[in-house]
């Protein structure tokens, strides 16, 4: 009798402390993080250790040789880093400005063209001409091949982000606008001095999304960039990996191409992820709120 009572209370305590749920969530979180751990571990392993033990969760023989190598022969990766930095910062800041201006005018109930222009913007989410006409336009008619514009312009206005910003702006108290207008403020002043300062969560979220879109992009480079001097970071990582694949499939192709060792490749990947994690931690507090903003209707 006593044992059943105590056992029951043990189970009750277990249930009320949510221990099992914590355990499951902890395991899932670790699973989410394990690949990162393996990557970092491989970047700090000696090449011999990777060959001998394979990829492991912790370095079997700690070594800095990959990073030493990277910092000695920094040319290409530094160049790609710079390209990615310019494209990401330039693209996301200009894009954020253009998108918030657009979203602001579409959020205004008293804007006469709000309905047709909203349709104009959001129709592009439903239908598109497909890859081929877009590719031919950019290469044959706009002549953007092998320019930095090809890496920036296509992602400047993303309708989904415009939608997010518009929803947020539409939720701002209109009394503020009225008051400012009575004081004689123009729409531009209203936008820059009232709307923007009040919209930090939305701007931070969209800014981060846009920054990540540029930072992580290799697709535009895959289509439009042949010039090594313009390779962004992610595309550089991709070409290294695909060269290795090509060589391992036809070994006779290997004529003097220097292949970075596995450790070096992983170290490069670590350098590519680093800033993302940093940016992520930085704006994370705005984030959950920002993601759920996308209530879509007007």
């Amino acid at each position: 009798m006593i044992t059943t009572v105590s056992r029951k209370s043990f189970w009750d305590r277990l249930k009320s402390s949510n221990l099992i749920i914590h355990l499951i969530l902890l395991i899932l979180s670790i699973m989410a993080l394990v690949p990162f751990l393996m990557l970092i571990s491989a970047s700090f392993s000696s090449e011999i250790a990777i060959g001998k033990y394979g990829y492991t969760l912790f370095p079997q023989q700690f070594s800095m040789e990959a990073y030493d190598y990277l910092f000695r022969d920094f040319g290409q990766i530094l160049n790609s880093y710079l390209i990615t930095l310019i494209v990401s910062l330039g693209g996301s800041s200009v894009g954020l400005l253009i998108m918030s201006l657009l979203a602001f005018s579409l959020s205004r109930k008293d804007f006469r063209f709000r309905k047709p222009l909203s349709f104009y913007v959001f129709f592009t989410m439903l239908f598109n001409g497909g890859l081929v006409p877009w590719y031919i336009l950019i290469t044959q008619y706009l002549h953007l091949k092998n320019t930095m514009f090809a890496l920036i312009l296509p992602y400047l206005v993303i309708p989904w982000f415009v939608l997010l910003l518009r929803t947020y702006f539409a939720g701002l108290p209109t009394e503020l606008f009225e008051a400012a207008r009575i004081d004689g403020a123009s729409e531009w002043r209203l936008f820059f001095q009232i709307v923007l300062p009040l919209s930090t969560p939305a701007l931070a979220t969209v800014g981060l999304f846009s920054l990540l879109q540029y930072w992580n992009d290799w697709w535009l480079a895959l289509l439009f960039i042949d010039d090594r001097k313009l390779f962004p970071l992610q595309y550089l990582l991709y070409t290294i990996q695909s060269n290795i694949d090509a060589i391992s499939q036809n070994p006779e192709m290997n004529s003097g191409v220097i292949i970075p060792t596995q450790g070096v490749r992983m170290a490069m990947a670590v350098l590519a992820i680093g800033p993302i994690i940093f940016a992520f931690l930085f704006v994370q507090r705005y984030f959950v709120r920002g993601i759920t903003l996308g209530g879509i209707k007007e």
């Binding site: 990557l39 890859l131 336009l137 990582l237 992520f280």
Partner: protein, 326 residues
């Protein structure tokens, strides 16, 4: 006062034009700056989204770069005949639909479970909840190139973690990158790993929006935690689940190019189970240089995709008009 008719008409016209221009000026004074604000974005969309729509005609032409878009010869539906004359079109359509369906089912179910669990622990352990959310969200922000590196670290034949572990147990090693039969599972897992945390936030916010009085009333009536979940939480987030699922179905004809291109490393041996519409269109354009057929496949995708998304939205509007896309 008798005025000649002509003069009268002229005068009226003059007045009309005055009021018209005055009205325009007034309209512009009210809307002009808002319109100018919208203009840069509108122009960019015109160039990068609307101009390509006119380029759809390429699908009906024998495109030659030297002749350009307008002077290439019309060939009617030839490109489509070629496309659907091959086994490829059906294979990539099947793969796209099949894998995307797997993704929708797994990531929706996973995200709901995750949201329910996070909701249970969130009040009493804020720090841990924050940690779980961050950890699970992080994969969403990593490029598919890096994800390709991750998967390679797990699966490469010589020193990947999986084969090393298998060898440790004395099991024969598997050459993953040449065994297409495993890839639906692998891609589904990768997709789940990458997106489940992000999707769970959407459901968690749905749960948080439930009026807490329901739970308090249930508690007073002595309902267990489990009862509260099955009788309150799940029924109340169900409309949200339906809507996100329908919107995902609206996108089912579009595959995540990065997942299928980078994670499989565009390996030809894996095409039987991993080649999808997006990779097919890309390859036809860039690798095989078959512009007409690539455009035809692209148009096929865009049209069916459009029908699906409009249809899905139509149903969403029936369920909950606030959540409809348009």
């Amino acid at each position: 006062m008798q005025q000649p008719l002509v003069e009268k008409v002229q005068q009226q016209q003059h007045q009309v034009s005055i009021t018209r221009s005055a009205r325009f000026r007034r309209m512009w004074a009210k809307n002009g700056s808002l319109f100018l604000m919208a203009l840069p974005g509108l122009l960019l969309l015109f160039v990068f989204s609307y101009l390509p729509m006119f380029g759809i005609i390429i699908a009906f032409k024998d495109y030659r770069a030297a002749q350009g878009l307008f002077d290439s010869a019309w060939v009617g539906l030839k490109n489509f005949e070629f496309l659907f004359g091959t086994q490829d079109a059906w294979r990539v359509t099947f793969n796209t639909l099949f894998l995307n369906s797997l993704f929708i089912v797994t990531s929706t179910t996973g995200a709901i479970f995750l949201a329910l669990m996070l909701n249970e622990v969130r009040e009493r352990s804020k720090i841990m909840t924050n940690f779980y959310q961050s950890a699970l969200l992080l994969p969403h922000f990593i490029s598919y190139v890096i994800v390709g590196y991750f998967v390679f670290a797990f699966l490469n034949t010589d020193n990947g973690l999986v084969n090393h572990t298998l060898a440790g147990f004395g099991v024969e090693q598997i050459s993953w990158y040449s065994s297409p039969q495993y890839w639906p599972t692998i891609l589904t897992s990768v997709n789940l790993w990458k997106h489940v945390g992000f999707n769970s936030i959407i459901y968690l916010s749905g749960i948080l929006a439930i009026n807490p009085e329901y739970f308090e009333a249930a508690k007073i009536d002595g309902a267990s935690k489990w009862k509260q979940i099955t009788r309150i939480t799940i029924p109340l987030i169900f409309p949200l689940v339906i809507i996100t699922t329908l919107l995902a179905i609206g996108r089912i004809f579009y595959a995540d190019f990065g997942l299928f291109y980078q994670v499989t490393r565009d390996n030809g041996l894996l095409y039987p189970t991993t080649d999808v519409l997006d990779t097919y269109v890309y390859r036809a354009l860039r690798v095989n240089g078959d512009v007409g057929m690539s455009a035809a496949a692209g148009l096929y995708q865009a049209l069916i995709g459009f029908i699906l998304v409009v249809g899905a939205n139509w149903i969403v509007r029936r369920v909950d008009s606030d959540k409809a896309l348009f």
